[in-house]
């Protein structure tokens, strides 16, 4: 064993995807590609007002359309739902009132899509319009216009976490900086629109649901609870998922409605969203209004943070509770933070509901925190790189919360980007209009506690080994494009010494695979890794009894390599794996192995304590060099560097792909992405034409690096990689723009017109309050005035 952990044969190799050929041939089956005998089509009717009481729904004309089989409304819905069933507010079809424009109010099933569409148009809904609240700051003051009757001042959730005496520490800190930030309203932007094919079998009472979802076992629970269908009579099957990014963690109304219609008709019903419906379903990132006050000592160590966070929750509950506390938790890393006060609020507004988007909570925190660090560095008089190194956490760090860092190579990440980008040499010294910025980040590798109210294992793996199917892994994991299938096969191959392409994977099916907590919070590879390793150990403990006799070596001295079981000490003493299996099956019986994993569950006694602790944290550092065109306001990213600590990379090629994809999502949010609603709450850009995501031409050259790392708490040394790297993108750019032109932008997206407003080149519209600030230290450091002319002493 080297300093970098275990030696591996298959783990750590950039092998191609097991499902790659299917995908590149157009043979991978996504939900909307499916068709079942007797299948009919469903379509939803959507609200045309953002806030209104439903006075009447007339479905008679819709029923008359030839080919229409069923029309349903909210009256047929039994219960509302939400993530964790905490303040359930959303109905499969709105009941009584609608709280955002685009909410589903009725549904049709028909023989073909055209008939369903015609019928939907003929449904007549009358609303009594109510005040439309679009800004959470306004919604807070409008208790007279509650979006949900039970939500006083429209507050869904609120909470405070306090560690130490913040006011006193800030008072005594030699340097204090303060600023406000606004993170934007973005969409996950997966290319595959949500689709569900529900198939209720009237003979057996089994409801089979094919849908693109990240948490099939959790979805099964939601369906059971919301539609009063017994768990054992629901089977969720996940076909290929065309991107998810958090946006497919929840049941969509269309999924629940397809189930209802199928149950009613006794035949398969498919509902696929249009792109416009995908945008209205939303469940992307929570916009946040944040205020931070941060203190530093004379060396640049952070002394305390006072953090206020107001989240725009849109119409429904969704992941709101989790997001609010996750933002609090993510504040505590990747820098040492001894004294903190967090005040969080999540407020309902009449907009499509934000939910979970890749790097949930991290994007908001990092944007504010990393900007504050640069402001602090300027105030203290240290380099932004040094201030990060001084405060960076290391393995063994435990702050005031229950969050513990068992392994970290964050400093290596910072060192790597600083040296590769030439940060220290460039910072503050590039010509006016050009600048460099840096930011750090981290993310958890799965929470310590289940989304389910239970204490069962978070990950379970079953292995079956025989001469009929070879090696088969049954696991509740769901691949969403991140490459899960390949790395799970690599792990099994590593343990049993077989080719990774020979491993059969049975997953994404609640009936065939054991319960799994789901694909979110970057938990899958870590948890599954432990479970697979344990299941393989179970197999080997059994199989080696027989193999030891065949090989003529002690059972504790055997290993599986290259299709053989051999003695560790005398590799020539060996037997073919298959032969040993054959012998085992004939002499002992069936060969099954089971493994499970549950993360450590630390105890705390503060509000929100269940959210945040994780068995492992991945880290990332990033630097961006930008050029600001002072005439057009265009910002060009001329260099981008990243270094990541994901522990051992099981498949480096996949890791690179995750990081590159994460950065492109971050760049989209920095420069273009924002859902816009008009004064009546109607979304103005529910399409990819006006909601602009990065194309190949928009991407700068990305220089990523996986730093040498091995997390000893992990089955294969691996930990989080796919989410953390989204977080530092916005602040790295904001810090670089500040270095370039001395203007600190505190809102995104950073469109050219905002740059010109800030530069004073053109006048900002009066109603537009732009989040920028400038700091006197900029001029002092650069020895020039904000416009680049030389500084005049007052």
């Amino acid at each position: 064993m080297s300093g970098n952990g275990r030696q591996f044969n298959v783990v750590g190799k950039s092998v191609p995807r097991v499902e790659g050929a299917d995908k590149v041939r157009g043979k991978a089956v996504f939900t909307d590609d499916m068709r079942l005998p007797g299948m009919v089509h469903g379509k939803l009717k959507h609200a045309t007002v953002a806030h209104g009481r439903i006075v009447s729904i007339d479905v008679e004309r819709a029923r008359q359309v030839p080919g229409v089989l069923a029309v349903i409304t909210g009256e047929e819905c039994a219960k509302p739902y939400s993530v964790n069933n905490y303040k359930p507010s959303e109905w499969p079809l709105a009941k009584g009132k609608v709280v955002y424009c685009g909410e589903a109010v009725a549904a049709v099933a028909a023989m073909d899509e055209a008939a369903a569409e015609r019928a939907v148009e003929l449904i007549d809904v009358q609303y009594e319009e109510l005040p439309v609240l679009l800004d959470p700051r306004e919604a807070l003051s409008r208790d007279d216009a509650r979006i949900h009757d039970w939500a006083e001042h429209n507050i869904g959730y609120e909470g405070v976490q306090q560690f130490g005496d913040v006011d006193d520490t800030l008072e005594k800190s030699p340097h204090v900086v303060e600023n406000s930030f606004y993170s934007s309203y973005t969409h996950c932007g997966f290319l595959e629109p949500q689709s569900t094919l529900a198939d209720y079998n009237t003979g057996t009472g089994l409801l089979t649901v094919y849908t693109c979802n990240q948490l099939p076992h959790y979805l099964q629970q939601t369906i059971a609870r919301t539609l009063d269908q017994r768990m054992e009579k629901i089977r969720v099957v996940i076909p290929t998922v065309g991107g998810a990014f958090g946006g497919k963690t929840e049941a969509t109304p269309s999924c629940l409605v397809a189930c209802m219609l199928s149950r009613q008709l006794g035949r398969p019903v498919k509902i696929t969203y249009t792109r416009e419906e995908v945008f209205h379903q939303n469940k992307g990132r929570h916009p946040a209004h944040m205020t931070m006050k941060m203190g530093f000592d004379n060396e640049g160590r952070i002394t305390a943070l006072d953090f206020d966070c107001l989240l725009d929750g849109g119409g429904h509950s969704s992941w709101g509770f989790v997001v609010m506390w996750f933002i609090a938790a993510l504040t505590h890393l990747p820098y040492k933070l001894p004294v903190v006060r967090y005040k969080g609020k999540r407020v309902y507004t009449n907009k499509p509901t934000p939910g979970a988007q890749r790097c949930l909570g991290g994007v908001q925190v990092r944007m504010a925190f990393e900007s504050m660090l640069d402001m602090g560095a300027a105030k203290v008089g240290v380099n932004p790189y040094d201030i990060r190194m001084i405060n960076a956490v290391e393995a063994g760090y435990k702050g005031p919360t229950v969050i513990e860092v068992r392994h970290a190579e964050f400093k290596k990440c910072l060192e790597s980007v600083a040296s590769r980008s030439g940060f220290v040499e460039k910072y503050g010294k590039l010509p006016y209009g050009r600048g460099i910025g840096m930011a750090g980040g981290h993310y958890s590798t799965g929470g310590a506690f289940l989304l389910y109210p239970s204490f069962r294992p978070h990950s379970t793996a079953q292995l079956r080994v025989d001469t009929e199917a070879g090696v088969t892994l049954y696991i509740g994991a769901t691949a969403i494009g991140q490459g899960a299938m390949t790395v799970l096969c690599q792990m099994v191959a590593e343990e049993l010494g077989v080719d990774y392409r020979e491993v059969h994977l049975v997953c994404q099916d609640t009936m065939l695979a054991p319960m799994d907590n789901g694909t979110y919070d970057s938990r899958l590879t870590y948890g599954s890794g432990h479970a697979i390793k344990n299941a393989a150990a179970d197999i080997k403990a059994k199989l080696f009894d027989v193999a030891a006799i065949m090989v003529g070596a002690g059972k504790d001295h055997l290993e599986c390599v290259n299709g053989e079981i051999r003695s560790i000490y005398e590799p020539n003493r060996k037997v073919a794996f298959k032969k040993a299996v054959y012998q085992y099956l004939s002499s002992v019986g069936p060969l099954f192995g089971t493994g499970e994993y549950t993360p450590p569950q630390p105890k705390g006694d503060y509000d929100g304590k269940l959210i945040g602790p994780s068995p492992a944290f991945g880290f990332t550092a990033q630097a961006a060099e930008v050029e600001v065109d002072l005439e057009t306001g265009q910002i060009k990213v001329v260099g981008y560097w990243e270094a990541g600590d994901c522990g051992k990379a099981i498949n480096p090629m996949s890791v690179e792909g995750q990081v590159e994809g994460a950065i492109s999502m971050g760049l989209g949010a920095t420069f273009f992405e924002e859902m816009v609603v008009d004064a009546n709450g109607r979304m103005l850009n529910p399409n990819f034409h006006d909601y602009k995501m990065p194309t190949a031409l928009d991407m700068p050259e990305l220089q990523t690096e996986i730093v040498a790392s091995y997390d000893p708490t992990s089955a294969y040394g691996n930990k989080e990689v796919g989410e953390g790297p989204v977080g530092p993108v916005i602040p790295a750019i904001l810090n670089a723009v500040y270095d370039a032109i001395g203007i600190r932008f505190t809102e995104v997206p950073l469109k050219p017109e905002k740059v010109l407003w800030a530069l004073g080149t053109i006048e900002a519209p009066a109603e537009r309050r732009l989040h920028v600030s400038s700091e006197s230290t900029y001029c002092a450091r650069r020895g020039c005035a904000p416009d680049g002319s030389s500084l005049q002493e007052p």
Partner: protein
């Protein structure tokens, strides 16, 4: 008014009953079970429905099926020959250019149109060639690499063909 037309797709002729307003994407996916062509937006913005018509890129979600009579349509299903992947497809697999795979069929076809016209494209030409195809997963780095690699493979195959 419905009518029967003949469409030539991946070298085979299909008789299909269509209405004049039927879009090529729906005919491919729903009438012919050629579901490799994806519908990410239905509005001409994402490129997942990219096919080649007479060798040129076209968006199947904006193309009327009736306008394709007498023309050669190539979909992702037509890229492999006798079970052997096209070099572009193989490059996508080997270079890690595939994540969720939803953009992949359209990307591969855009890459084919590009390489047919520019066998040795510059980096910028590659990016331009796939700029009508969104990918939310990869950040395009590995896709650009795959196209570059595919160009080299095709060039090598062509050189080898000349030598023989």
């Amino acid at each position: 008014m419905k009518r029967v037309i003949e469409l030539t797709i991946n070298g085979s002729a299909y008789d299909v009953v269509i209405s004049p307003q039927d879009l090529l994407i729906d005919v491919l996916r729903q009438k012919l079970d050629l579901t490799g062509t994806k519908k990410g937006c239905g509005q001409g913005d994402c490129g997942t429905c990219t096919v080649l018509i007479d060798g040129r890129r076209a968006l199947a979600c904006l193309t009327l099926a009736i306008a394709c009579e007498g023309r050669q349509i190539l979909t992702i299903e037509g890229m492999e020959k006798h079970g052997v992947l096209h070099p572009i497809q193989q490059a996508f697999i080997d270079k890690g250019a595939i994540q969720c795979g939803y953009c992949t069929p359209g990307m591969v076809l855009s890459a084919k149109a590009l390489l047919d016209e520019h066998p040795a494209p510059t980096e910028h030409e590659i990016k331009l060639g796939i700029s009508g195809n969104l990918c939310r997963c990869t950040g395009y780095v590995k896709i650009v690499e795959a196209v570059r690699d595919a160009a080299a493979r095709l060039q090598a195959a062509a050189d080898c063909g000349k030598g023989a």
